[in-house]
Each structure stands twice: as C-alpha cells, then as structure tokens.
Symmetry: C2
Subunit: 256 residues, 2 copies
C-alpha cells in the first residue's frame, strides 16, 4: 500500500481546463492523485448541490499521467461529496481545488465553485486548499506558480491545517520575478454593483446578461485585495461557521 | 410617496410555494412589497449566480394582494441582484427570504438558496432575514408562525441589523402552543454523511441520487440545533466575511 498522501483534485472550470491540468501535474509529485471534476464549466455555482436531479460520474483518461480521473455531471460540491463518500476507498489526506481561471479573493469566495468544493471537503473533515490565478484567460500561464503551489501544499500536509479551515490562495497576474512573496490575509470587504445588460431575443422577448463592477471598500493593508494589488500571493484561512458571535448579544437584547 | 418600508421578498422553493405566499401576506401588513422569486424550485443552489447563461424576469399576478411580483428564471441570488440593481426604483429597506420548506439551521445555511438570497442582500447593503420551517411538506402549516415573523421583522426594522449581518431564523415543526420562545444562537457544528443511491437507467448507464444522513457533532446548549430540538425558534446572526481570524497567526508561522 502506498505511503504517499491520497489527494482529491477538483475545480469549477471543468476537468479539461488548463488550470486543473497544471494542479494535477504538481499533485502527482506529492501524492496519489484522484481527480473528480465537473464535465463542464461550473463558475459561479457557489455551494450548489444537486438534490432534484441525478448525477453521472465516469472514469476517463485525459493525459498520460499516473492520476485516476472521473468526470462528473454535477457541481464542484457534488464532485467532492461523490469523491469522499462514494468513489474513494479511504478518506483523502487533502483536497485541492483549482487552479481557477480568475480571482476568488475577497467576496468572490462566496460565489466560487472552486472554493465551495474545497470548503465542502473541510466540512467533511478533509484538509483543503483552493488555488486561483487572477487571469480569466483559458491560455493563462500557470507554469511559474507551480513551485508556490507545491510549497504551500507540502507545508499544509506537514503542519496540518486548523480543524475546519480551508485555505483560499490567490495568485496575482504577474511574471515570476514580479511576485514579491506570500501574505496571510483577511478577506477584503468588497461587493459587486451589478449592471444588467438587457436585450431582446429574436422572438421579441426581453432577457438579461449579468455583468458587474467590482467595488473594494476596504482600505486595510492586511486584506487579500491589498496583498494581490501589491504583488503578493494572498492566503486567507476560511471557515464555514458563519455565526457572527459579536452580534449575538445585540440581537438577544431585542428581547424577542 | 409611501412612507412604508420597501420590502423585497424572495425564496428558493419558487414563487408559487406556500411558504413565500405566507411570507408575502405578513410583509403586506408591514410595508410596500415587491416579490422577485425563482420561477422554479432552486433548493440546494447555495450562492450560485448565473454568469454563463441569460436571465428572464416577468411581471406576474398570483393572488389579489397589493404586492408587485416578478418571476425570474435565475437562482435566488440572481433574483436579489436583479431586484436591487435593475427592477426596484430605490434600495429596499429590507429583504426577506423564505419561508423555506425545510431546515436551514446549522451547516444547511451553506447549501441554502433561501439563505444565500438573504446574504446577497446583506452584501449589497440591504438588511436581510431568512425564514425557514423545519417541515419539508408542500402543505406545511405556516399560519401559526406568522406572528413571530411579523415581530422579528418589525424589531429588525426598528432596531436596525448590525452592518453586513443576516438573520437566519428557523422554526421548529411544532404547534403554536408547543413553541417555547426564541433563542439567539450560534450555528451548530454539523455535517452530512452522503449516501449515493446508485441506479442503472433504461440504457444501462449508471447514475446517482444524492441522499444523506445528518450528523450533529455539537453538544453545546447555545447552538441552533439545540434550541430547535428543545422547542425554541432559533435566530443565528450570519456574516459573509469567512476569514478565520484565529488561524492567521498560525498560518503566518509557517514562513511560506
């Protein structure tokens, strides 16, 4: 039996995306790799799960690497649930998700299929890391960030992640020699102002495309947005207990 | 111009669900109501948004109430984005989501379209409350919880919610005289063990249905699960900053 760590790899851009192929190649240097990833792009799926429909999951071969791969009809969170509870013979030692084509920093973590997959693994007791590159292009350059991905992953396996905590790692869109280092950060306080592009279809019916403008209200220097815009890789430790403990007393004082 | 509060109502069970019809009837007693809700059930959609497809949104009339209603092809979070940024003439004073047919307590908050809609409103600066009843039946009884919904909503409008905080309100499946009161709680530490029901379709191809067993690891008496199982309505103040501040120093000490 292999003594190497068992690593579950997933993403939200789909199993053929260059970002996940780069991530698989790094993980093959570290452990025994099983890929369970969506068969089509699932960006913006958040923590959606498939409960009113069925799921398909098929073993496939995409490249000549040693990893085992499954292509799944569901969301990123579905892939992780299927992996941990149905497909893998034992609980994985780590789940990595990505590398996402585009940012999952600040409020984007909420909408992100990539991060929700990683958070799902954490909920189920599997240490997890989501990786994202601030470049939406399909042909984005991933080769120079591989050494950082490997270092962060090895360190997480060696030190262990705090219980229930997922790392949200974002890489700036910079060449290797422009990256200044790594900062551990808080999630910046940001939001999107949506602009709906209203159109009329050939049958005369109105429809919308969602577009938006990103607003960063956060001026603090310990945020992920600050780190990224100053040439650093950002790491935010993320939790799935959404309770705002500071507000409990205030709401209690309402005497409902 | 009306001096009544402008209230945006949405849900994830779809605009015709009895739960949202009950919620609309309560909100009509409090303010000017605009309903923007999914045209079909969206349970388990989490914080999914529609970015690779288009959205439709149509004004409709469902009952004789004074509210204005729109049926939307998107997810619950899409409905809120459309409402705040495109359809409403001004920023609403409150967004309420639900009443969900089924629990959104503890970890269910993460998968919940109902709660994600409310959280989306909070992200966009609109105070928000999600309401859920621990009864999955379509013909669940909502009449006896209306007075609680009205009181909580009026108190939230009067006192104001802490900035960025959403209330997650869950009602136990109990008759009126069995409900002991309201507890402000933390999110219980729970998870689901998935059981995939594997079947074979008429063409011989395997597929899965997601099912699961709910596991409550949390024995603490200040959790929402404890309150609900002891006859109380639970209110958890929920935030969208997922940073685990306690872990920042630990990850920093890795010296990446």
């Amino acid at each position: 039996m292999s003594k190497k760590p068992l690593i579950l790899v997933t993403n939200d851009d789909g199993i053929t995306a260059p970002g996940i192929r780069a991530l698989i190649s790094v993980m093959n240097e570290i452990g025994d790799v099983v890929v369970i990833a969506p068969d089509s792009p699932q960006s913006g799926m958040g923590h959606a799960i498939t409960i009113n429909s069925t799921l398909e999951c098929n073993k496939i071969t995409i490249d000549s690497g040693p990893q085992i791969e499954y292509s799944c009809s569901g969301t990123p969170a579905d892939c992780v649930k299927l992996g941990i509870n149905e497909i893998l013979q034992r609980k994985p030692d780590l789940c990595v998700s990505g590398v996402n084509h585009g940012s999952n920093s600040s409020i984007n973590v909420i909408y992100s299929g990539t991060m929700s997959a990683a958070i799902e693994a954490s909920i189920e007791g599997v240490p997890a890391i989501g990786f994202s590159l601030l470049d939406y292009n399909w042909d984005a350059e991933f080769s120079h960030i591989k050494k950082y991905i490997k270092n962060i992953t090895l360190k997480a396996l060696e030190e262990g992640l705090p219980k229930g905590i997922t790392l949200n790692v974002n890489f700036p869109k910079l060449n290797h020699d422009m990256i200044k280092g790594i900062k551990v950060c808080k999630q910046a306080d940001t939001y999107w102002i949506e602009k709906f592009d209203k159109r009329v279809n050939p049958q005369g019916k109105e429809y919308y495309w969602l577009t938006g403008e990103f607003i960063n209200k956060d001026q603090s220097e310990d945020s992920d947005e600050f780190a990224l815009s100053n040439g650093y890789i950002s790491i935010v430790p993320v939790k799935h207990d959404l309770t705002d403990y500071e507000s409990i007393n205030k709401i209690q004082s309402w005497n409902l």
